[in-house]
Symmetry: C2
Subunit: 342 residues, 2 copies
DNA sequence: AGTCGTTGAGTAAGCGCTTTCTCGAAGCGG
DNA sequence: CCGCTTCGAGAAAGCGCTTACTCAACGACT
């Protein structure tokens, strides 16, 4: 471990002043071509790497953005994260990825950490809809964009998918397939996305002119495979079983599918199943899963673009609420045989 | 956006000097209790958050570590990342998670970015075994720990799982189940892990006293579900099909399972399948997947602990090569009915 | 009573970089 | 040939914080 190479060493070797080296790095236009070449050669020869924290301290602008998601174990969020990372690196920014694990305390910890790092902006899928963490960040002058979460507040950027519409699409489809007793497996009550999907499901029932009791709600404690398995076991234990299940995400649906198929229930003949997110594993399940597709990658890209735009024009920024439209992908898990439709 | 709150504002409000505020933050012991309380109250009242880049510049020590993985879409790596993140935050460090996507160019980009951020250390699963990125980082005085990748070099810490042994476990099991024609679906040639698993598979054949041609190798261009599907389709097109497949990871195995089941092949009766990693989706597949379990979480924790230890004692650090032992988890996908064994 | 530790707070020098300001050297029309 | 502009490089002031040092105050000794 030698002494670290600084801008000074580069200046010395190129026979210029430190200011000139800095100019080569940040405003190459103002430096004469010959000098610039000489400096670049010195940088190359010495293997100089810019000290980003020092740059940030002096210039006041960071090249880092924070991303706080509910669950990195959920492929939906990793796909969103890839979109974020892609857009961010195109703009020369690094991404610090944090996982709140649906815990408000962990979310708070990560938010404080990002604030201490003086990140350029934060993309967050809040655990609770309450704006506690969001407001805390904005009070400290950090741009925030809500990710996969809409907002009514006009002073905040957000990127979301129309979850209510997605829920409606799924249940309208199940009703059209002739399902009469539909269970909706939702997430914990605080999670905004799953609540909206349930509202959409109710819309679908109303629009189809059916009685509200076609729908039954079964809340799961978390949106993962294990809880889906447990929900499936609960349904299997019942005397009168539903003929369709709509799950608030694909992890739940895959768990439920697994539990029911193992117990000998035929999918979709005895039980139709629809999920949400259309993660890659949904299509690859043994009974390919009907699901509601969201533009995950685009969601991430859009959010990153917004936060970078906002923090580049802090004063004159117009906040935008972007809403994407989801799309139903019908697969085998919900295609009922004609016999049961007629 | 108000003026940002600095250590100076806190000092002013508490009626002390900036040095004392800094001492409260960093060496609380040297400050008298009454003064300390006063400073903490001021911090609280003003909502002060430390400027980490400035601290880092002055003190020379970062509280950030970098993590570069092959594929964030692979649940194996997200579980490892959770382990890293857990151990890191216990030590008060943030994690910058980067995804190389099995591309050497992207890996290089991320490594340079982490160097510019002057991270405390880097955990990396290198795309190629060649030490290019690793050496580049070490030349700049940044501690590196190889993650899920062993090393022969004694001047480097590494954390790995015995992939060769894992491959041997899987194939020994398949042979014991009576399989006679085993295809090993490997990853691209550069990926160290999958090459080792193949070597282990060959060991198993040799130890069982079988002819080497029991095994056939089918390389996949990447270790994901899509490539598994394609591999499955290739096998289905053959006149004489294998009676078992060992895949270099679970994503490949799930894709292959999906392709074969859809085509009416009975698993495990017609075809036994074994994967590697034992990700959660493996147990939840419609035909639960036999797999080789790795201590993913522990792997991450151990790597984080090593890198933090190394960069805290830069000179007198003894490099360690940690190797975990994998474990075979037998499930339905490889349990052949007695009839075909006898 | 004078001396000497101790304790606890203040003072100030930078960490490596950006950026403004300054200034010399050309270039050029009058 | 002179004074003007323009261009390119250097000098220097910090960004917010840490960390020696310095130093006053106060007992405890001799």
């Amino acid at each position: 471990m030698k002494a670290p190479i600084g801008i000074r060493d580069v200046a010395l070797r190129a026979g210029v002043s430190v200011g000139t080296v800095s100019n080569v790095l940040n405003r190459p236009g103002v430096v004469a071509a010959a000098t610039r070449e000489r400096v670049l050669a010195a940088i190359d020869a010495l293997g100089y790497v810019r000290n980003e924290p020092a740059r940030q301290l002096r210039s006041g602008t960071a090249r880092t953005i924070g991303l706080v998601v509910l669950d990195v174990g959920n492929p939906f969020f990793t796909d969103v994260a890839r979109g974020v990372e892609e857009a961010a690196s195109e703009a020369g920014h690094a991404v610090i990825l944090c996982n709140s694990g649906e815990s408000a305390a962990r979310e708070r910890g990560h938010v404080e950490l990002l604030a201490a790092q003086r990140v350029h902006g934060v993309l967050i899928t809040p655990v609770r809809s309450g704006p506690a963490s969001v407001r805390w960040l904005r009070d400290r002058g950090i741009s925030v964009v809500l990710l996969d979460h809409p907002t009514a507040e006009a002073d905040l950027c957000s990127v979301a998918v129309d979850d209510r519409h997605g829920g409606e699409l799924a249940v309208t489809h199940l009703l059209a397939e002739g399902c009469e007793r539909i269970v909706v497996v939702t997430g914990p009550p605080g999670i905004h996305q799953s609540a909206e999907r349930l509202r959409g499901a109710r819309d679908a029932v109303r629009l189809a002119g059916r009685a509200p009791d076609v729908l039954e709600v079964l809340p799961a404690p978390a949106l993962n495979v294990a809880c889906g398995l447990r929900a499936g076991e609960q349904l299997l234990a019942r005397a009168v079983r539903p003929d369709a299940v709509f799950c608030a995400n694909d992890l739940l649906a895959l768990g439920l599918l697994q539990a029911t198929v193992r117990a000998g229930v035929r999918v979709p003949d005895d039980l139709a199943i629809a999920g949400y997110d259309d993660i890659d594993f949904a299509a690859a399940a043994a009974v390919p899963l009907t699901s509601v597709r969201q533009p995950r990658h685009e969601l991430g890209r859009a959010a990153a673009a917004l936060v970078i735009a906002e923090s580049q024009a802090p004063g004159a920024h117009e906040h935008r609420q972007v809403v994407f439209t989801p799309e139903l992908v019908v697969r085998e898990s919900s295609r009922r045989p004609r016999s049961s439709v007629w």
